[in-house]
Symmetry: C2
Subunit: 188 residues, 2 copies
């Protein structure tokens, strides 16, 4: 095939020819993601949401990013929050993932399931790994905001006690373990 560099030529007006929302969603149905619950409290009560958009972007300084939809019930409170706690969920936490993805309920109604850090943020007892951080940047992106968090503190499960992680894919919950591991392929 052609290996000669060809200058990029984008047809005039092509920048307006966006993909439809339905096609975009269909493409991403095939892109799995780890599952997190982000919590915060700007001072007037706890908020939280399930997020499948948490990514690690920099180790030094330690920065993660997540995407917050303007339609999320937690969006107004997160816009006023300076700090958040990001819980990375295991398969055993699928109940938390569902609770924090459900609209119209009090996601903190089960008062046995959470407490507060000394710094005030809500923390979920069931999550073995969480990171507390300060929001350091925000980027508007269509109907969402991409939020950058500098991590200050974390609870990390021991390697032996780390639960199998929870994965969301094509509207279904999955878990990773030996049963999902790819056989070592021959070198290609």
């Amino acid at each position: 095939m052609n290996t000669t560099p060809v200058p990029q030529r984008v047809a005039e007006g092509a920048f307006e020819d966006m993909l439809s929302a339905d096609q975009f969603k269909a493409a991403f149905r095939n892109h799995p993601a780890g599952v997190a619950v982000v919590t915060a409290d700007p001072g007037d009560g706890p908020v939280g949401l399930t997020a499948t958009s948490v990514i690690s972007v920099s180790a030094n300084p330690p920065l993660l990013v997540f995407s917050l939809s303007a339609f999320s019930s937690a969006a107004p409170a997160l816009a006023r929050s300076e700090t958040v706690v990001v819980h990375l969920l295991g398969a055993e936490n699928v109940g938390l993932a569902k609770t924090f993805a459900t609209s119209g309920i009090d996601r903190f109604a089960d008062t046995e399931s959470w407490s507060r850090l000394v710094t005030g943020e809500p923390v979920l007892a069931g999550a073995s790994t969480w990171l507390r951080g300060r929001i350091v940047n925000r980027m508007e992106a269509g109907d969402s905001t991409v939020i950058a968090v500098q991590v200050l503190q974390a609870q990390i499960a021991d390697a032996e006690e780390t639960p199998d992680p929870l994965v969301y894919h094509n509207r279904t919950w999955h878990s990773l373990g030996e049963q999902s591991e790819l056989a070592q392929p021959t070198r290609s």
Copy 2:
């Protein structure tokens, strides 16, 4: 547990107490991700890299985000690129994922494995789903740049022909399918 909102109080100086890079990496080892290859050509040759940071952030307009390390060999060319192609990989593409994550090789040496869109960007023949888009925003984040892409065009595999997706977790490649699906839990 305490449900009374407690005002956030962050100790003076706590903002400097960042998590160490090693601890941060250990925490994210438990956070799986779908796998993509991002390609571009600013006009002087194709570049590409494997990314486990591609997230969907907005459906209307269709926007995705990925994180680009300053240490990636593709970083200088991507800084000059206006458009990219994001390939969402299936388990059958693990060879591509490895090739585009390997340093010091010509990642486009196999000229049978890729071609060019009429707009000039390199496209990988083996990937059944890809999205072409224009870079619309960049956010500096430590040693990386978070890049926002507005999607203009896509190739999406038919639902029946969609391969099982590739997942990266704890330095291992996984695939999702019926074997990884969580049993429908009782409502909690």
